[in-house]
Amino acid sequence: MSAADAALVRIRGLRKSFGAQPVLDGVDLDVRRGEVAVLLGPSGAGKSTLLRSVNHLERPDAGFVEVGGEIIGYRHQGGRLHELGHRAITRQRARVGMVFQQFNLFPHLTVVENIIEAPVAVHRVPRKRATAGALGLLERVGLGGRGSDYPRQLSGGQQQRVAIARALAMEPELLLFDEPTSALDPELVGEVLAVMKDLADTGMTMIVVTHEIGFAREVADTVVFLDGGRIIETGPPAEVLDRPRHERSRAFLAAVL
């Protein structure tokens, strides 16, 4: 079981339905430390719900998610899983960064204020040190000098790079990306993917929901193909993308490529 022991993220038997509609239908997935896992699949396959379950933005109906050996959102006691209080869930979420399709930057705060909000409020980092860290992160995502702008003064690609810097400021063990380039104009996609590739190269553990097959091929260690709330196929990109075994993955890839 050495492979499973090394897994940073362990997802087992995850089920979730919205009303009568099952969205996740028993998902098992391991993501090792430093691994980049790309979730592919048609819309409605459950990719976003799976991702959002990892930091308990969705509460599963059955199954569990474990990050770094800690069950997310629950405490195991006396043969039961008791849901954690807000404070404990908040502490767990601080270890998992998330980047959203719509960026969700705080429009009433400047770029630097967006980045330092959580470190100052949650980790009690002194404002001065947090600001210095934020400026360093902005350099890293190629936005040095834009710290005092408001999000609306930036392009979509720049906003998404700020959102990545904001997630990094919490020094997370794991980064979740929910279709980070889907809301962007085509010419802005590359700058965001480049920042994500840099992150992957530094050994960041990432779970990425995307439709960018090129990114999956180039950066992913594992491609996970979902359909109808189940994992249909999983493996290295060369296998899943170039020699898909399953009928539905083949159809999806034929439509996307």
């Binding site: 933005l57 960064g97 959203f100 705080f106 009433h108 409020a121 949650v122 609306r152 997630a167």
Partner: protein, 338 residues
């Protein structure tokens, strides 16, 4: 075209065939590009607009004239009483009562709004019931109820529900006119402001709270730092209305003998029968206060609009001039915040 020599020529001989004119004059058919580029643009004349403006200005001048010259307004007396001691005391009470009522009411109102948006069905129903009840009862009736509380509950006790009591006060001693006014008006503001705040919170994109959750921010911090500031642009205009309405609604406390601005004026004119001048004194004070609050509202709105625009802030006077073309160059469109 009745110059003598042209008419003579037409009568004398048949017109010679028109000589081909130079290009610049053939414009009867089709103007050249140079002509079009050189032409002055003449906007559409709007005589109706001028006539309407003129008529309204005349009416306005008549109004100002009669108000100034009708001696029965007794402007001299207005001036005598404008800074009268008991008027100023009434003004002070109106001001602090409004401030206290608005502060308390909004604190309660935010709580009621958050209860209403919670997932706890008991809290939601309580909040809904509170707003329903307070909005249903006329504010005058509410004030009288609080003022007459002593006849319903002669004593108020502090203790364990249905159990022993630790302390007891006589309600009649507790509820003076001012306290009744404070409590009654605060509850009224709480009910109305909770709906304003709830609308503001609902106007904020749920992705904002979600992003804040994903960053590990706590619930109180998310509300105070992320959601409420973004709700403010929707909350401030309606709250300005509520504040100015409450400033004037405090005059209702005169029915329970609280000496506010209006009641002070009433006490004076009940003795000297100078009714109109004293009502004018209160009116002028209310106008002054409302003006100050409206200007304040402008600055509050501008503060909370930060990050919403790409252009630099415009000052109050620039906006004022933009909205009052008579005082400056009107730029044609109604100047707003954005």
């Amino acid at each position: 075209m009745s110059s003598p020599d042209t008419s003579a020529r037409t009568s004398a001989a048949p017109e010679p065939p028109p000589t081909p004119r130079p290009a610049t004059v053939t414009s009867a058919g089709r103007p050249t590009d140079e002509q079009l580029l050189g032409a002055r643009l003449v906007p559409l004349r709007r005589p109706g607009r001028w006539a309407a403006a003129l008529a309204l200005l005349v009416l306005f001048a008549m109004l100002v004239h009669t108000v100034l010259t009708n001696s029965r307004f007794q402007w001299g007396t207005v001036g005598d009483y404008f800074l009268n001691g008991s008027i100023l005391q009434g003004l002070a009470l109106t001001l602090w009562l409004t401030a206290a009522v608005m502060a308390t009411g909004y604190l309660l109102g935010i709580g009621v709004a958050v209860m209403r948006l919670s997932r706890n069905p008991v809290l939601t129903s309580l909040s809904f019931g509170f707003v329903w009840l307070v909005r249903s009862v006329p504010i005058l009736v509410q004030l009288l109820f609080w003022y007459e509380l002593a006849s319903l509950y002669p004593q108020l006790s502090f203790g364990i529900p249905f159990g022993p009591e630790f302390a007891t006060v006589r309600t009649a001693h507790l509820f003076s006119g001012v306290l009744a006014a404070y409590v009654g008006l605060s509850l009224d503001v709480a009910a109305f402001s909770s709906e304003i705040v709830r609308g503001g919170i609902l106007s904020v994109d749920p992705g904002q709270a979600e992003a804040a959750q994903a960053l590990g921010l706590g619930r109180a911090r998310i509300l105070r730092r992320i959601v409420l500031p973004q709700a403010m642009p929707a909350v401030v205009p309606a709250s300005g209305n509520l504040l100015i309405g409450m400033l004037k609604a405090t005059s209702i406390v005169s029915v329970i003998a609280v000496q506010d601005l209006l009641y002070s004026a009433q006490l004076i004119y009940n003795q000297n029968f100078l009714i109109v001048p004293l009502l004018l004194v209160t009116t002028l004070w209310y106008i002054i206060l409302t003006t100050v609050l409206s200007i304040g509202q402008f600055y509050v709105e501008r503060h909370f609009a930060r990050g919403r625009r790409r252009t630099a802030d415009r000052g109050f006077w620039q906006l004022f001039r933009g909205n009052v073309p008579l005082l400056g160059r009107g730029d044609g469109k109604f100047a707003g915040l954005s």
